[in-house]
Symmetry: C2
Subunit: 475 residues, 2 copies
């Protein structure tokens, strides 16, 4: 068989089967944007003739990582909202109300680069201005599953007193819904299928019942999924109880919202029964351990969800309050925070963390027919990871292999040398090939300088815990 | 003033004062192995004439990190002992009983390189064979505070049934004590003062009362500290109660062991009252959040300890069960695990995590007269960290600075470009200058190949949870 590329002699992690599907001296053959063969190096090399051969000796070859929940448009405020209470109102909002679409786009590009350099090949980006941000994915060459965040809230929610019901503005909701529809019409399936689009209601508390139902009907019509925060905080539950006298999950269940079309993000405030209900109804759960740990000091109920039969994925959430978008960080935090939650070192082993960032993530976001494992016919989203680093030494293969534990608990992301997405080489020896990384950083810095100048009075007025740390000389 | 080196125009984190002591356009001047001036760049550049000038624009300049508890001699089993119960007996021991001093030394060298590449300049190494391992610190040029682990246990403790009292062998204890004394006599204050030595009893459960008292008297005689596991697990508490009808901390208090000479490591099983007692008596606490999270699924009581007035430091512990030795990992885990333990995002802010790996760590290990902050007269252990990385973008300085939050929550260690220890350039543009990194990795790999061959039957016989994962095809 004639192919374009063979990557051979690596430790190939296929993510097929129940574990990680390791092939010790393995190879992957690629034609166009597709994986056409996976197996032992001797077999692949004798069955395929390739234009290009990559020798992956002492390297690990695996499917690209999936970040199932990221807000790249707010990464321009990285490091400005953590170690604090009132994260949204006092941390995020003073910046957000002073940001323009251009600023969001400049930050988003750097955020996508950050992800790729840590092995993320698929981004489920959930943000406003997605019609603009999606162009970054087109340019970089990453796989993206995107939506516009839909709510009916005024542009400046900092004026709403804490504890009062959000005022809904149907005109705002309509504008955002139309933007989401426009995104789908213009981008779904574009870039050789790399870009796909979902609907993105921001949470059951942030738009009217009627609009929630309209979004649901549109998701059926366009045959796509709904990406939505669910039970993301006590703030949300309080709004739901005040408005509907119901908690989020029973409310959504009555609307038949908890089906296979729903990617339910966070579930931070879900009770065990509610968590099990979401799993039983067929929705998937997106768990963001680093972000929820920093912002709320909590561990989402992802183990309960999986034990109830649900499919879960990991996400990195936002840079202001995590403060990185690196799936190696999320895998390690998912494992350790759940061990601590259960006070049991055996739960959430490394192989499981890896599945929640690859094959099970692909199932959770509805893309497992295309990505998440190496199988002939799937898309060629491939990482080559260098194992000859001090923190990955030694390699032991018999009678136990230490590769996956080291990948999850010791790798930081910078061991990723080469990234292919959709068969295209996007990063080689840690150099991005499709965009100028330093230029992107420079432009994001310029945007951040302007935002911090414009936001200054609002930041001082908000008086967050972080602002007080600064005033008192701690930062 | 004539100096050897000025590092100027960086964001200088001095770690002086109550927070991080930031100087926005700052400089550090070095003569020999000593910091001679710290301040604003314009001041330093007009007052000092330097042979060498490093321009640190868009870089962060800060004191080297302190790893207050590491076992470099067992890093050769990295990734072989996690996600399991009976970590010591089933995880570590099958390898340890089949390892030679040469293997430990080969792994240790790579482990030290790993630490330096992530900004660790001072290693409190607590291991057997330290008379051999210490040579690695001499060779690499790192600062080390070392001891021999002293116990009275037979070489193969896997033969002792779980739950039974350890049999003590005074001859073994005497041999190990003499090795610790030899280490002190030969190495304390050597290498221009970079190497200092402590005593290292392995835990109150692992040697007789008489030997514990002898160690204490010797620590007084040599005017040095004692580095010891205290209340490190339920296994230890069970041994103490069986042998002495006392828990570890009341037992040690009666021996007057909990004074300023003690570095008490872990305190995992300490009650709140016991934790407060250790702090009040003047001992310091070493907290290893990543390791205890993986091995035990627990969060050590470091916040209770600090609130009781104690001085604490962070440590990375061992590679088999953490599985990395990277103080950026420990800072982030310390912050997030404590937020989760208290269910409060405000506790353990980034600046506090940084202090526990720098100035407060130096206090906890008794080296704050030499390291941990930038002050004229202290040793020149200096990191230069690149901020023009995607995951460190943007830099915001007004009205809040995001540098320290990003350093603690987003940096991975590989942003560290340059490392000076004791005034000597040890790493430049991520290249180690004193040792051949790839050769060290190659030798450690060869040693690991032999260990895994020799240990095979013992690993199979131990039948750990990880071995079963391998058998069942998960790894």
């Amino acid at each position: 068989m004639k192919v374009d590329l063979i990557i051979a002699h690596g430790y190939v992690i296929t993510m097929e089967g129940k574990g990680v599907g390791m092939i010790a001296d393995g190879a992957v053959a690629v034609r166009g944007n597709t994986i056409v063969a996976v197996g032992r190096s001797d077999e692949i090399l004798s069955n395929c003739q390739a234009d290009q051969l990559i020798n992956a000796t002492n390297k690990l070859v695996m499917p690209g990582l999936i970040d199932a929940h990221i807000h790249t448009g707010i990464s321009i405020y990285r490091g400005m909202a953590q170690d604090m209470s009132h994260w949204m109102q006092k941390g995020l909002w003073p910046f957000k109300k002073n940001s323009e679409e251009d600023d969001a786009a400049a930050g988003s590009l750097v955020n996508i680069i950050e992800g790729i350099k840590a092995g993320t090949t698929t981004f489920c980006d959930y943000d406003s201005s997605m019609n603009r941000l999606v162009q970054n994915y087109s340019k970089v060459g990453a796989r993206a599953r995107v939506c516009e965040m839909i709510n009916q809230l005024p542009d400046d929610i900092s004026s709403i007193p804490v504890g009062e019901l959000y005022p809904f503005d149907p005109a705002i909701g309509e504008r955002k819904l139309q933007a989401n529809i426009r995104l789908i019409e213009q981008w779904h399936g574009k870039e050789n299928g790399r870009i796909t689009c979902l609907f993105g209601p921001q949470g059951p508390d942030m738009l009217e019942l009627e609009l929630l139902l309209e979004v649901k009907a549109l998701a059926e019509k366009y045959d796509t999924l709904i990406h939505m925060h669910v039970a993301q905080g006590d703030r949300e539950i309080a709004q739901m109880e005040k408005r509907y006298q119901k908690r989020s999950i029973p409310f959504l269940d009555e609307l038949n919202y908890l089906d296979r079309r729903l990617m339910a993000v966070h579930l931070t405030e879900a009770t065990k029964t509610e968590t099990q209900l979401v799993a039983m109804r067929g929705a998937s759960m997106i768990c963001c351990p680093g972000s929820i740990g920093i912002i709320d000091g909590l561990v989402p109920p992802v183990l309960d969800f999986i034990e109830a039969g649900g499919k879960a994925a990991l996400g990195s959430d936002q840079a202001p309050g995590n403060n990185c978008n690196n799936m190696f960080n999320e895998m390690k935090f998912a494992a350790i925070l759940n061990k601590v939650k259960r006070a049991d070192p055996r739960v959430f082993p490394a192989w499981q963390a890896l599945r929640l960032a690859t094959i099970e993530a692909a199932q959770a976001i509805g893309l497992d027919h295309e990505i998440g494992s190496f199988r002939p016919g799937k898309k060629a989203d491939i990482l080559i990871i260098n194992l000859l680093e001090a923190n990955m030494t030694p390699i032991i293969t018999d009678p136990i292999r230490n590769l996956v534990p080291n990948l999850v608990y010791s790798a930081r992301g910078n061991e990723v040398e080469t990234v292919l997405i959709d068969g295209q080489l996007i990063m080689e020896e840690r150099k991005l090939l499709t965009v100028d990384e330093q230029l992107a950083i420079k432009k994001a810095q310029e945007a951040a300088n302007e935002i911090s100048r414009r936001s200054k009075n609002d930041i001082i007025a908000a008086g967050s815990d972080v602002y007080h740390m600064m005033e008192e000389g701690y930062l």
